[in-house]
């Protein structure tokens, strides 16, 4: 077990350094001059060059890369070119917002998805199954930003019920969580249904029923537990996809999270922030995958006892 964990951890570290390198390379390949971006559209060329030198951007790329990686090892993510604040501070401020939204979206997804999937599996072939799966289908086919626009149109523009910008108390979580959660809920519902169907067809379920157990006990105590493996896997997978989809959602709802931070910084060529943000997202992604793998390892007795 420990070896499994350590091996995975090692992979994660290598992937992270690779990600940092990749983002460094790609970001410096993007056309657009950071010094000019910060100097603004009216600065003279001398001012731009002076600014470039003061930020160390005139050094050769290999030197900049070296100092970046060394800094990373010391936990230094660099400084924002625009406002001089350490990237770590900015990231540390934005990350909890992103994670809170991700978690609440995941909660919505689980609360919507699993019951829907169980319902569909139990009522297989009947109307409830068809309706549930149709809903789930629409959920995975809809662009999330369209759902966001529709929700805003309905609840904010017409009914003026909930806030849809920034964070103003728990109500602000509703719309963004639903937007992000629906897609994940749909996938989870489908996977739950498939997983449950597989399990419900097994012999031991028939035995449990034969023993006279209540149907609800059969479904929840036995079937769901055994389907948990595939459900947990899909939850882990969806979490990662959710993090990616948050970029657009954060932009629409003006949510002060990492996704929006990266997009803003990309537009103003504040490369240190973009790299820092991407690294943190990749880190989060990797940790979640690791946890999912671990959970999978624990849940699946086949792996546990190997």
């Amino acid at each position: 077990m420990l070896k499994y964990f350590l091996k995975k951890l090692g992979m994660v570290l290598i992937v992270l350094i690779g990600a940092a390198t990749c983002s460094f390379v790609v970001l410096h390949a993007i056309p657009g001059d950071t010094a000019q971006a910060i100097a603004g559209p009216q600065a003279t060329m001398e001012d731009v060059e002076r600014l470039r030198a003061s930020m160390g951007l005139d050094k050769p790329l290999t030197e900049q890369y070296k100092s970046y990686i060394i800094g990373l090892c010391h936990g230094n993510l660099g400084f924002s070119y625009h406002n001089g604040k350490p990237v770590w501070d900015l990231v540390a401020a934005a990350w909890p917002n992103t994670m809170r939204l991700a978690l609440s979206s995941m909660l919505v997804a689980i609360l919507l998805g699993i019951p829907l999937g169980v319902l569909a599996a139990v009522k297989r072939g009947r109307v409830a199954d068809t309706i549930s799966m149709v809903i789930a289908f629409i959920g995975i086919s809809m662009p999330s930003f369209w759902l966001a626009l529709l929700l805003i149109l309905l609840f904010c523009v017409n009914l003026n019920l909930v806030p849809f910008y920034g964070i103003q108390g728990w109500q602000s979580y509703i719309l963004p969580s639903v937007t992000l959660g629906v897609h994940a809920a749909a996938s989870i519902a489908r996977m739950t249904r498939t997983g449950m169907l597989e399990v419900l067809g097994q012999d031991y379920i028939r035995t449990a029923r034969g023993k006279g157990l209540q149907e609800s006990r059969v479904v929840f105590l036995h079937a769901l537990r055994n389907a948990a493996i595939s459900i947990v896997t899909i939850i882990g997978l969806q979490f990662g996809i959710l993090l990616g989809g948050q970029v657009v959602t954060e932009t629409i709802f003006s949510w002060p999270g990492i996704g929006r931070m990266i997009v803003d910084a990309l537009n103003s060529r504040d490369l240190q922030i973009v790299q820092g943000g991407i690294l943190i997202l990749a880190c989060t992604f990797a940790v979640i995958n690791l946890l999912t793998d671990l959970l999978y390892g624990i849940l699946d007795p086949r792996i546990r006892y190997n």
Partner: protein
């Protein structure tokens, strides 16, 4: 023949096929019957649905229905082409990785893991910005972001088939590596590849729409559903329906494709075949 019969028995597959055929029909023939996509009529902005303009007009007075129908071409083409690109890259990576194994496998899988460590939207954004904004770079960016998934799939398939008897036999008969890969291993892996490919068309369309929504992608006045949604955002007050039509079009198209993909999977994947 058995496949076709089996598929026709599956109601959702039939629904999907019919829908897709309908969309393709609209998209190929439609533009011949609708008014021009670029004709601006600044006196008729934000008109609501009428006989002349079934979906109303946009901020330039252009007919929305015509733009949706025309935009379908770009959407479908970009979805299919980006998946083909992703498949091409993914198959090469996965084949090399799965067949040769060892260091080759290690390095390629490391690259895939790194690519998968980025949220796909950010990866695609970075590629589009580096290569410049256009239809083509959009397809490249979306294609590249789905290639690691194909690579992994192909690799898994190859690794399980690599030591099969028929492969050994072919090798013994003197076939070259390339021949084995492309004429024997690949055809036998087509099942999962086909399923994943079809499903990826749907997610590629969504990713492309997301990028266009963020402002990267096609040039004006090209009607593309994602960028139409982006412009609609500004005019939510004047004309809320402007935001409904393109999103509806995307959803319906992706539903159709997913239905077909699901049906394919139900048929080809032995695990779920028993559940049919």
């Amino acid at each position: 023949m058995k496949i076709i019969k089996k598929i026709l028995h599956n109601p959702s597959a039939v629904a999907g096929l019919v829908l897709l055929l309908f969309i393709c029909l609209c998209v190929t023939i439609g533009p011949l019957f609708t008014p021009s996509v670029t004709d601006q009529n600044l006196l008729n902005q934000f008109a609501s649905s009428s006989a002349e303009h079934p979906m109303g007009t946009d901020e330039f007075g252009r007919d929305v229905f015509a733009r949706i129908v025309m935009g379908g071409r770009y959407t479908l083409i970009s979805g299919i082409v980006s998946v083909i690109l992703g498949l091409a890259v993914g198959i090469i990576m996965g084949a090399a990785s799965g067949y040769y194994g060892g260091a080759c496998d290690y390095i390629i899988m490391m690259i895939c893991d790194i690519m998968l460590a980025f949220p796909s939207v950010i990866l695609a954004m970075a590629i589009t910005i580096v290569l410049g904004s256009s239809m083509f770079t959009l397809m490249v960016a979306v294609g590249i972001s789905s290639s690691p998934i194909f690579a992994r799939l192909v690799r898994a398939q190859f690794m399980s088939l690599r030591d099969a008897t028929f492969v050994e036999a072919t090798r013994l008969s003197g076939a070259s590596d390339l021949r084995i890969i492309f004429c024997h291993l690949l055809p036998n892996s087509m099942g999962p590849i086909l399923i994943q490919g079809t499903l990826r068309i749907g997610s590629s369309i969504l990713l492309a729409a997301t990028l266009s929504f963020l402002g990267l992608g096609v040039q004006p006045p090209t009607p593309e559903w994602g960028s139409m949604l982006n412009s609609a955002r500004q005019y939510m007050w004047e004309s809320p329906m402007l935001g409904v039509w393109p999103g509806l079009a995307i959803t319906v198209t992706v539903i159709a494709i997913n239905l077909i993909g699901d049906a394919l999977r139900d048929y080809l994947d032995p695990r779920t075949r028993s559940l049919l």
